[in-house]
Amino acid sequence: MSSSATLANASNSQALARPPNGGVFQIALRDIQTLFRTPWIIITRSLAFIIQLFVFATLISTLVHISSDPTFNFFQYYAIGSVVGTMASISFVIGYDIFEEAEEGVLDYLLTLPVSRRQFIIGRALGGAVRAMIYIIPMFVIVAVLENFTSPLNLIAAVLDLFLLSFGVTGLSITVAVSVRSANRFDVVLALLELAVSRASTALYPAIAMPFYVAILAPFSPVSLAAGSAREALTGGAINIASLAGLVAFVVIFLGLGAAFYFRKLEGGVYA
Protein backbone atom coordinates (compact mmCIF):
# COMPACT_ATOMS: atom_id res chain seq x y z
CA MET A 1 0.00 0.00 0.00
CA SER A 2 1.39 3.39 -0.96
CA SER A 3 1.85 6.12 1.62
CA SER A 4 -0.59 8.40 -0.19
CA ALA A 5 -3.29 5.70 -0.02
CA THR A 6 -2.60 5.26 3.70
CA LEU A 7 -2.87 8.98 4.26
CA ALA A 8 -6.12 9.07 2.31
CA ASN A 9 -7.53 6.22 4.46
CA ALA A 10 -6.42 8.00 7.60
CA SER A 11 -8.10 11.21 6.55
CA ASN A 12 -11.30 9.25 5.70
CA SER A 13 -11.27 7.65 9.16
CA GLN A 14 -10.86 11.06 10.76
CA ALA A 15 -13.77 12.37 8.74
CA LEU A 16 -15.85 9.41 9.90
CA ALA A 17 -14.75 9.77 13.49
CA ARG A 18 -15.71 13.43 13.70
CA PRO A 19 -18.67 14.28 11.50
CA PRO A 20 -18.69 18.08 11.32
CA ASN A 21 -22.28 18.92 12.20
CA GLY A 22 -24.38 15.88 11.47
CA GLY A 23 -23.62 13.92 14.66
CA VAL A 24 -26.05 15.77 16.90
CA PHE A 25 -28.81 15.50 14.32
CA GLN A 26 -28.20 11.83 13.61
CA ILE A 27 -28.46 11.02 17.30
CA ALA A 28 -31.53 13.24 17.70
CA LEU A 29 -33.12 11.67 14.62
CA ARG A 30 -32.68 8.20 16.10
CA ASP A 31 -34.63 9.23 19.20
CA ILE A 32 -37.32 10.87 17.09
CA GLN A 33 -37.69 7.72 14.98
CA THR A 34 -38.34 5.59 18.07
CA LEU A 35 -41.51 7.62 18.58
CA PHE A 36 -42.90 6.33 15.30
CA ARG A 37 -41.87 2.76 15.98
CA THR A 38 -44.35 2.60 18.87
CA PRO A 39 -47.59 3.86 17.31
CA TRP A 40 -49.77 2.20 19.95
CA ILE A 41 -48.25 4.34 22.66
CA ILE A 42 -48.96 7.49 20.63
CA ILE A 43 -52.55 6.36 20.04
CA THR A 44 -53.11 5.53 23.72
CA ARG A 45 -51.71 8.81 24.98
CA SER A 46 -53.70 10.75 22.40
CA LEU A 47 -56.84 8.91 23.44
CA ALA A 48 -56.04 9.66 27.08
CA PHE A 49 -55.74 13.34 26.25
CA ILE A 50 -59.03 13.33 24.31
CA ILE A 51 -60.93 11.57 27.11
CA GLN A 52 -59.44 13.87 29.72
CA LEU A 53 -60.40 16.92 27.73
CA PHE A 54 -63.75 15.98 26.25
CA VAL A 55 -65.09 13.85 29.11
CA PHE A 56 -63.32 14.75 32.35
CA ALA A 57 -62.78 18.48 31.75
CA THR A 58 -66.20 18.95 30.16
CA LEU A 59 -68.03 17.27 33.04
CA ILE A 60 -65.96 18.62 35.89
CA SER A 61 -66.08 22.20 34.57
CA THR A 62 -69.85 22.16 35.14
CA LEU A 63 -69.16 21.62 38.85
CA VAL A 64 -66.25 24.02 39.37
CA HIS A 65 -67.05 27.40 40.85
CA ILE A 66 -64.66 29.92 42.41
CA SER A 67 -66.56 32.49 44.46
CA SER A 68 -63.79 35.12 44.13
CA ASP A 69 -63.77 34.71 40.34
CA PRO A 70 -67.24 33.67 39.10
CA THR A 71 -66.19 34.03 35.44
CA PHE A 72 -63.38 31.51 35.80
CA ASN A 73 -63.43 29.18 32.78
CA PHE A 74 -62.13 25.86 34.08
CA PHE A 75 -62.40 24.08 30.73
CA GLN A 76 -60.10 26.59 29.04
CA TYR A 77 -57.73 26.55 32.02
CA TYR A 78 -57.58 22.76 32.03
CA ALA A 79 -57.28 22.49 28.21
CA ILE A 80 -54.06 24.55 28.09
CA GLY A 81 -52.74 22.95 31.27
CA SER A 82 -53.34 19.42 30.05
CA VAL A 83 -51.21 20.10 26.95
CA VAL A 84 -48.40 21.38 29.16
CA GLY A 85 -48.80 18.48 31.62
CA THR A 86 -48.78 15.92 28.82
CA MET A 87 -45.70 17.57 27.36
CA ALA A 88 -43.87 17.19 30.68
CA SER A 89 -45.01 13.59 30.94
CA ILE A 90 -43.80 12.68 27.43
CA SER A 91 -40.47 14.39 27.97
CA PHE A 92 -39.76 12.04 30.87
CA VAL A 93 -39.80 9.05 28.48
CA ILE A 94 -36.20 9.67 27.31
CA GLY A 95 -35.02 8.65 30.79
CA TYR A 96 -36.68 5.22 30.42
CA ASP A 97 -35.02 4.81 27.01
CA ILE A 98 -31.58 5.67 28.34
CA PHE A 99 -31.94 3.38 31.36
CA GLU A 100 -33.12 0.50 29.15
CA GLU A 101 -30.27 1.01 26.67
CA ALA A 102 -27.74 0.80 29.50
CA GLU A 103 -29.41 -2.38 30.85
CA GLU A 104 -29.64 -4.08 27.46
CA GLY A 105 -26.11 -3.17 26.35
CA VAL A 106 -27.25 -0.94 23.47
CA LEU A 107 -25.34 1.95 25.02
CA ASP A 108 -22.05 0.15 24.32
CA TYR A 109 -22.97 -0.01 20.66
CA LEU A 110 -24.00 3.65 20.60
CA LEU A 111 -20.64 4.62 22.04
CA THR A 112 -18.85 2.99 19.11
CA LEU A 113 -20.56 5.38 16.70
CA PRO A 114 -18.34 8.05 15.13
CA VAL A 115 -19.92 10.82 17.15
CA SER A 116 -18.22 12.81 19.87
CA ARG A 117 -19.49 12.43 23.43
CA ARG A 118 -20.65 16.05 23.48
CA GLN A 119 -22.60 15.60 20.26
CA PHE A 120 -24.04 12.37 21.58
CA ILE A 121 -25.35 13.97 24.80
CA ILE A 122 -26.73 17.08 23.12
CA GLY A 123 -28.29 14.87 20.45
CA ARG A 124 -30.08 12.75 23.06
CA ALA A 125 -31.51 15.79 24.84
CA LEU A 126 -32.51 17.44 21.58
CA GLY A 127 -34.08 14.23 20.25
CA GLY A 128 -36.08 13.76 23.47
CA ALA A 129 -37.34 17.34 23.35
CA VAL A 130 -38.17 17.38 19.64
CA ARG A 131 -40.06 14.10 19.73
CA ALA A 132 -42.12 15.38 22.65
CA MET A 133 -42.89 18.47 20.56
CA ILE A 134 -43.92 16.37 17.54
CA TYR A 135 -46.12 14.31 19.81
CA ILE A 136 -47.82 17.28 21.46
CA ILE A 137 -48.48 19.43 18.38
CA PRO A 138 -51.76 17.69 17.34
CA MET A 139 -53.09 18.14 20.89
CA PHE A 140 -51.98 21.75 20.91
CA VAL A 141 -53.80 22.27 17.60
CA ILE A 142 -57.00 20.73 19.03
CA VAL A 143 -56.89 23.12 21.99
CA ALA A 144 -56.04 26.11 19.78
CA VAL A 145 -58.99 25.35 17.49
CA LEU A 146 -61.38 24.69 20.38
CA GLU A 147 -60.43 27.89 22.18
CA ASN A 148 -60.00 29.93 19.00
CA PHE A 149 -56.37 30.89 19.60
CA THR A 150 -55.42 32.28 16.20
CA SER A 151 -52.68 34.87 16.69
CA PRO A 152 -49.51 33.37 15.13
CA LEU A 153 -47.20 35.29 17.46
CA ASN A 154 -49.07 34.10 20.55
CA LEU A 155 -49.03 30.53 19.29
CA ILE A 156 -45.28 30.73 18.63
CA ALA A 157 -44.70 32.10 22.14
CA ALA A 158 -46.70 29.21 23.64
CA VAL A 159 -44.79 26.67 21.54
CA LEU A 160 -41.53 28.20 22.76
CA ASP A 161 -42.68 27.69 26.36
CA LEU A 162 -43.50 24.07 25.59
CA PHE A 163 -40.13 23.51 23.94
CA LEU A 164 -38.22 24.99 26.86
CA LEU A 165 -40.17 22.84 29.31
CA SER A 166 -39.55 19.76 27.21
CA PHE A 167 -35.82 20.45 26.95
CA GLY A 168 -35.52 20.96 30.70
CA VAL A 169 -37.57 17.89 31.65
CA THR A 170 -35.50 15.81 29.22
CA GLY A 171 -32.38 16.96 31.10
CA LEU A 172 -34.02 16.13 34.43
CA SER A 173 -35.04 12.70 33.18
CA ILE A 174 -31.53 11.96 31.87
CA THR A 175 -30.08 13.06 35.23
CA VAL A 176 -32.31 10.57 37.08
CA ALA A 177 -31.71 7.78 34.54
CA VAL A 178 -27.96 7.92 34.88
CA SER A 179 -27.79 8.49 38.62
CA VAL A 180 -30.11 5.69 39.85
CA ARG A 181 -28.74 2.16 39.50
CA SER A 182 -31.60 -0.16 40.54
CA ALA A 183 -34.34 -0.68 37.92
CA ASN A 184 -37.12 -0.75 40.50
CA ARG A 185 -35.86 2.34 42.27
CA PHE A 186 -35.52 4.11 38.93
CA ASP A 187 -39.13 3.25 37.99
CA VAL A 188 -40.41 4.54 41.33
CA VAL A 189 -38.30 7.71 41.38
CA LEU A 190 -39.18 8.73 37.83
CA ALA A 191 -42.89 7.93 38.21
CA LEU A 192 -43.06 9.89 41.47
CA LEU A 193 -41.14 12.79 40.02
CA GLU A 194 -43.43 12.88 37.01
CA LEU A 195 -46.52 12.80 39.21
CA ALA A 196 -45.20 15.41 41.64
CA VAL A 197 -43.99 17.80 38.94
CA SER A 198 -47.35 17.82 37.15
CA ARG A 199 -49.75 17.59 40.12
CA ALA A 200 -47.94 20.08 42.33
CA SER A 201 -48.16 22.69 39.60
CA THR A 202 -50.69 25.21 38.41
CA ALA A 203 -51.07 23.42 35.07
CA LEU A 204 -54.32 21.64 35.90
CA TYR A 205 -55.79 23.82 38.63
CA PRO A 206 -55.24 27.36 39.90
CA ALA A 207 -53.01 28.04 42.92
CA ILE A 208 -55.94 29.71 44.71
CA ALA A 209 -57.63 26.32 45.17
CA MET A 210 -54.53 24.43 46.27
CA PRO A 211 -53.82 23.50 49.87
CA PHE A 212 -51.26 25.89 51.39
CA TYR A 213 -48.48 23.28 51.50
CA VAL A 214 -48.64 22.93 47.70
CA ALA A 215 -49.57 26.52 46.89
CA ILE A 216 -46.28 27.84 48.31
CA LEU A 217 -44.22 25.50 46.13
CA ALA A 218 -46.34 25.25 42.96
CA PRO A 219 -45.35 28.62 41.44
CA PHE A 220 -41.72 27.42 41.28
CA SER A 221 -42.51 24.22 39.41
CA PRO A 222 -41.24 24.33 35.80
CA VAL A 223 -44.62 22.97 34.70
CA SER A 224 -46.31 25.94 36.42
CA LEU A 225 -43.92 28.36 34.75
CA ALA A 226 -44.58 26.87 31.31
CA ALA A 227 -48.34 26.62 31.86
CA GLY A 228 -48.58 30.18 33.20
CA SER A 229 -46.48 31.61 30.42
CA ALA A 230 -48.33 29.68 27.68
CA ARG A 231 -51.69 30.66 29.17
CA GLU A 232 -50.73 34.35 29.28
CA ALA A 233 -49.42 34.23 25.72
CA LEU A 234 -52.53 32.51 24.40
CA THR A 235 -55.25 34.29 26.35
CA GLY A 236 -53.74 37.65 27.21
CA GLY A 237 -51.30 38.07 24.39
CA ALA A 238 -48.52 39.04 26.79
CA ILE A 239 -45.08 37.47 27.17
CA ASN A 240 -44.28 36.62 30.77
CA ILE A 241 -40.57 37.44 31.00
CA ALA A 242 -40.20 36.15 34.58
CA SER A 243 -41.67 32.75 33.68
CA LEU A 244 -39.55 32.53 30.55
CA ALA A 245 -36.43 33.37 32.57
CA GLY A 246 -37.38 30.69 35.10
CA LEU A 247 -37.82 28.15 32.34
CA VAL A 248 -34.48 29.04 30.77
CA ALA A 249 -32.81 28.63 34.17
CA PHE A 250 -34.51 25.23 34.57
CA VAL A 251 -33.24 24.17 31.15
CA VAL A 252 -29.69 25.35 31.83
CA ILE A 253 -29.51 23.69 35.25
CA PHE A 254 -30.97 20.31 34.33
CA LEU A 255 -29.51 20.05 30.86
CA GLY A 256 -26.13 20.87 32.40
CA LEU A 257 -26.61 18.36 35.20
CA GLY A 258 -27.94 15.69 32.83
CA ALA A 259 -25.00 16.22 30.49
CA ALA A 260 -22.48 16.12 33.34
CA PHE A 261 -23.93 12.90 34.84
CA TYR A 262 -24.30 11.24 31.45
CA PHE A 263 -20.77 12.19 30.44
CA ARG A 264 -19.47 10.75 33.69
CA LYS A 265 -21.36 7.51 33.15
CA LEU A 266 -20.22 7.13 29.56
CA GLU A 267 -16.60 7.64 30.46
CA GLY A 268 -16.24 5.21 33.30
CA GLY A 269 -19.24 3.44 34.75
CA VAL A 270 -22.08 4.80 36.81
CA TYR A 271 -20.11 6.04 39.79
CA ALA A 272 -16.58 5.83 38.49
Binding site: I51, I60, L63, A200
Partner: protein, 227 residues
Protein backbone atom coordinates in the same frame (compact mmCIF):
# COMPACT_ATOMS: atom_id res chain seq x y z
CA UNK B 1 -47.70 3.34 46.19
CA UNK B 2 -48.54 5.29 49.33
CA UNK B 3 -46.68 8.28 47.89
CA UNK B 4 -48.84 8.06 44.75
CA UNK B 5 -51.94 7.82 46.88
CA UNK B 6 -50.83 10.77 49.00
CA UNK B 7 -50.25 12.96 45.95
CA UNK B 8 -53.65 11.95 44.59
CA UNK B 9 -55.45 12.58 47.85
CA UNK B 10 -53.60 15.44 49.51
CA UNK B 11 -52.94 17.47 46.39
CA UNK B 12 -55.43 16.62 43.65
CA UNK B 13 -58.43 15.67 45.77
CA UNK B 14 -57.95 18.56 48.21
CA UNK B 15 -57.63 21.02 45.32
CA UNK B 16 -60.73 19.76 43.54
CA UNK B 17 -62.47 19.79 46.92
CA UNK B 18 -61.73 23.52 47.08
CA UNK B 19 -62.78 24.10 43.47
CA UNK B 20 -66.17 22.44 43.82
CA UNK B 21 -68.36 24.11 46.45
CA UNK B 22 -70.27 22.00 49.01
CA UNK B 23 -73.75 21.09 47.87
CA UNK B 24 -72.92 20.96 44.15
CA UNK B 25 -75.15 18.24 42.60
CA UNK B 26 -76.00 17.11 46.12
CA UNK B 27 -72.40 16.35 47.13
CA UNK B 28 -71.79 17.57 50.68
CA UNK B 29 -67.99 17.50 50.39
CA UNK B 30 -66.33 16.87 47.05
CA UNK B 31 -63.06 15.99 48.78
CA UNK B 32 -64.75 13.16 50.67
CA UNK B 33 -66.64 12.20 47.52
CA UNK B 34 -63.47 11.51 45.50
CA UNK B 35 -61.27 10.35 48.39
CA UNK B 36 -62.09 6.60 48.03
CA UNK B 37 -61.24 6.92 44.35
CA UNK B 38 -57.62 7.79 45.20
CA UNK B 39 -57.34 4.53 47.11
CA UNK B 40 -59.04 2.44 44.44
CA UNK B 41 -56.80 3.94 41.74
CA UNK B 42 -53.81 2.85 43.85
CA UNK B 43 -55.35 -0.63 44.17
CA UNK B 44 -55.84 -0.73 40.40
CA UNK B 45 -52.20 0.20 39.71
CA UNK B 46 -50.94 -2.37 42.23
CA UNK B 47 -53.24 -5.07 40.82
CA UNK B 48 -52.06 -4.43 37.26
CA UNK B 49 -48.53 -5.12 38.47
CA UNK B 50 -49.46 -8.84 38.63
CA UNK B 51 -50.05 -8.92 34.90
CA UNK B 52 -46.77 -7.11 34.28
CA UNK B 53 -44.96 -9.71 36.41
CA UNK B 54 -46.54 -12.56 34.46
CA UNK B 55 -45.52 -10.92 31.20
CA UNK B 56 -41.94 -10.38 32.38
CA UNK B 57 -41.68 -13.98 33.57
CA UNK B 58 -42.86 -15.16 30.18
CA UNK B 59 -40.83 -12.96 27.83
CA UNK B 60 -37.96 -11.39 29.77
CA UNK B 61 -36.99 -13.79 32.52
CA UNK B 62 -38.09 -17.01 30.77
CA UNK B 63 -39.26 -18.44 34.08
CA UNK B 64 -42.14 -20.59 32.78
CA UNK B 65 -40.12 -23.84 32.79
CA UNK B 66 -38.92 -23.18 36.32
CA UNK B 67 -42.44 -22.42 37.55
CA UNK B 68 -43.75 -25.62 35.96
CA UNK B 69 -41.10 -27.61 37.79
CA UNK B 70 -42.43 -26.50 41.19
CA UNK B 71 -44.00 -29.29 43.26
CA UNK B 72 -47.52 -27.84 43.27
CA UNK B 73 -50.58 -28.73 41.18
CA UNK B 74 -50.87 -26.37 38.21
CA UNK B 75 -54.29 -25.11 39.13
CA UNK B 76 -52.99 -24.27 42.58
CA UNK B 77 -50.04 -22.42 41.06
CA UNK B 78 -52.33 -20.32 38.87
CA UNK B 79 -54.77 -19.65 41.73
CA UNK B 80 -51.96 -18.66 44.05
CA UNK B 81 -50.68 -16.15 41.49
CA UNK B 82 -54.07 -14.46 41.60
CA UNK B 83 -54.29 -14.67 45.39
CA UNK B 84 -50.77 -13.22 45.66
CA UNK B 85 -51.72 -10.33 43.41
CA UNK B 86 -54.78 -9.55 45.50
CA UNK B 87 -52.76 -9.75 48.73
CA UNK B 88 -50.12 -7.42 47.30
CA UNK B 89 -52.77 -4.94 46.23
CA UNK B 90 -54.46 -5.00 49.64
CA UNK B 91 -51.09 -4.52 51.35
CA UNK B 92 -50.18 -1.66 48.99
CA UNK B 93 -53.45 0.09 49.79
CA UNK B 94 -53.45 -0.81 53.48
CA UNK B 95 -52.45 2.65 54.78
CA UNK B 96 -54.64 4.34 52.16
CA UNK B 97 -57.70 2.38 53.23
CA UNK B 98 -56.99 3.32 56.85
CA UNK B 99 -56.78 7.01 55.86
CA UNK B 100 -60.09 6.86 53.96
CA UNK B 101 -61.79 5.01 56.82
CA UNK B 102 -60.54 7.74 59.17
CA UNK B 103 -61.90 10.45 56.86
CA UNK B 104 -65.24 8.63 56.70
CA UNK B 105 -65.34 8.36 60.50
CA UNK B 106 -65.43 4.57 60.59
CA UNK B 107 -61.89 3.74 61.64
CA UNK B 108 -62.97 2.03 64.86
CA UNK B 109 -65.90 0.22 63.34
CA UNK B 110 -66.51 -3.16 61.69
CA UNK B 111 -67.02 -1.25 58.44
CA UNK B 112 -63.22 -1.14 58.17
CA UNK B 113 -63.37 -4.84 57.29
CA UNK B 114 -65.98 -4.10 54.65
CA UNK B 115 -63.69 -1.42 53.23
CA UNK B 116 -60.86 -3.96 52.90
CA UNK B 117 -63.29 -6.44 51.37
CA UNK B 118 -64.21 -3.88 48.68
CA UNK B 119 -60.52 -3.25 47.91
CA UNK B 120 -59.83 -7.01 47.81
CA UNK B 121 -62.79 -7.79 45.53
CA UNK B 122 -61.97 -4.92 43.20
CA UNK B 123 -58.31 -6.00 43.10
CA UNK B 124 -59.35 -9.61 42.42
CA UNK B 125 -61.11 -8.53 39.23
CA UNK B 126 -58.23 -6.31 38.09
CA UNK B 127 -55.59 -8.97 38.83
CA UNK B 128 -57.57 -11.46 36.74
CA UNK B 129 -57.98 -8.96 33.95
CA UNK B 130 -54.30 -7.98 33.93
CA UNK B 131 -53.20 -11.63 33.88
CA UNK B 132 -55.45 -12.25 30.87
CA UNK B 133 -53.89 -9.33 29.03
CA UNK B 134 -50.40 -10.52 29.95
CA UNK B 135 -51.17 -13.99 28.59
CA UNK B 136 -52.22 -12.66 25.20
CA UNK B 137 -49.91 -9.64 24.81
CA UNK B 138 -46.95 -10.50 22.59
CA UNK B 139 -44.98 -7.35 23.37
CA UNK B 140 -44.66 -5.01 26.33
CA UNK B 141 -46.04 -2.19 24.15
CA UNK B 142 -49.29 -4.11 23.62
CA UNK B 143 -49.57 -4.88 27.33
CA UNK B 144 -48.84 -1.28 28.35
CA UNK B 145 -51.31 0.02 25.76
CA UNK B 146 -54.14 -2.24 26.91
CA UNK B 147 -53.34 -1.47 30.54
CA UNK B 148 -53.45 2.27 29.86
CA UNK B 149 -56.76 1.98 28.02
CA UNK B 150 -58.34 -0.01 30.85
CA UNK B 151 -57.00 2.43 33.45
CA UNK B 152 -58.38 5.29 31.40
CA UNK B 153 -61.79 3.63 31.23
CA UNK B 154 -61.81 2.81 34.94
CA UNK B 155 -60.74 6.31 35.98
CA UNK B 156 -62.53 8.75 33.70
CA UNK B 157 -65.56 6.80 32.53
CA UNK B 158 -66.76 5.92 36.02
CA UNK B 159 -68.38 7.83 38.88
CA UNK B 160 -65.00 8.35 40.49
CA UNK B 161 -65.12 12.11 39.79
CA UNK B 162 -68.76 12.86 39.04
CA UNK B 163 -72.20 11.47 39.72
CA UNK B 164 -73.97 9.53 37.03
CA UNK B 165 -76.58 12.34 36.97
CA UNK B 166 -73.91 14.76 35.72
CA UNK B 167 -72.99 12.33 32.95
CA UNK B 168 -76.69 11.89 32.14
CA UNK B 169 -77.10 15.65 31.78
CA UNK B 170 -74.02 16.41 29.69
CA UNK B 171 -73.22 13.17 27.85
CA UNK B 172 -76.15 10.74 28.08
CA UNK B 173 -74.58 8.34 25.58
CA UNK B 174 -71.85 7.62 28.17
CA UNK B 175 -74.28 6.53 30.89
CA UNK B 176 -74.29 2.78 29.97
CA UNK B 177 -70.47 2.78 29.90
CA UNK B 178 -70.22 4.59 33.23
CA UNK B 179 -72.90 2.47 34.90
CA UNK B 180 -71.31 -0.82 33.87
CA UNK B 181 -67.84 0.18 35.03
CA UNK B 182 -66.37 -1.94 37.89
CA UNK B 183 -64.76 1.22 39.31
CA UNK B 184 -68.24 2.75 39.58
CA UNK B 185 -69.48 -0.27 41.56
CA UNK B 186 -66.42 -0.28 43.83
CA UNK B 187 -66.36 3.45 44.53
CA UNK B 188 -70.12 3.59 45.10
CA UNK B 189 -69.88 0.62 47.49
CA UNK B 190 -67.13 2.47 49.38
CA UNK B 191 -69.19 5.67 49.55
CA UNK B 192 -72.18 3.79 50.90
CA UNK B 193 -70.07 2.61 53.82
CA UNK B 194 -70.44 6.12 55.23
CA UNK B 195 -74.03 5.23 55.95
CA UNK B 196 -73.88 2.69 58.76
CA UNK B 197 -76.20 -0.29 58.63
CA UNK B 198 -76.05 -0.90 54.89
CA UNK B 199 -74.44 -4.28 55.53
CA UNK B 200 -72.90 -6.20 52.68
CA UNK B 201 -75.52 -5.21 50.11
CA UNK B 202 -73.39 -2.59 48.28
CA UNK B 203 -70.43 -4.97 48.21
CA UNK B 204 -72.39 -7.86 46.73
CA UNK B 205 -72.53 -6.16 43.33
CA UNK B 206 -68.76 -6.62 43.02
CA UNK B 207 -68.67 -10.35 43.71
CA UNK B 208 -69.92 -11.75 40.38
CA UNK B 209 -67.83 -9.55 38.02
CA UNK B 210 -64.69 -9.91 40.15
CA UNK B 211 -65.03 -13.70 40.21
CA UNK B 212 -65.66 -13.70 36.47
CA UNK B 213 -62.50 -11.69 35.75
CA UNK B 214 -60.50 -13.81 38.20
CA UNK B 215 -61.63 -16.98 36.40
CA UNK B 216 -60.74 -15.37 33.09
CA UNK B 217 -57.26 -14.62 34.42
CA UNK B 218 -56.94 -18.15 35.79
CA UNK B 219 -57.99 -19.71 32.48
CA UNK B 220 -55.67 -17.44 30.48
CA UNK B 221 -52.71 -18.15 32.74
CA UNK B 222 -53.27 -21.90 32.46
CA UNK B 223 -53.73 -21.64 28.71
CA UNK B 224 -50.61 -19.59 28.05
CA UNK B 225 -48.49 -21.93 30.14
CA UNK B 226 -49.93 -24.84 28.10
CA UNK B 227 -50.67 -26.53 31.40
Amino acid sequence: MFANFSIDLFITAVTFGNLIPPGTTGIASYFLYIAPGSNLVTAMVAAFQSGRDVWREKYIKDLTSYLLSLPVPRLLLASSRIAGGVARSVIATFPGTIVICYLYGMLFDTRVLEAYLIVALFSLGIVGLSMSFAAFASSIEVFVTVRSLVQLYLSFLSTLFYKVEVVQEKAPFLVPIVSSNPMTWAVEAFRELKISGTGFAPISVLIAPSLFFALLGLGSYLWYSKL
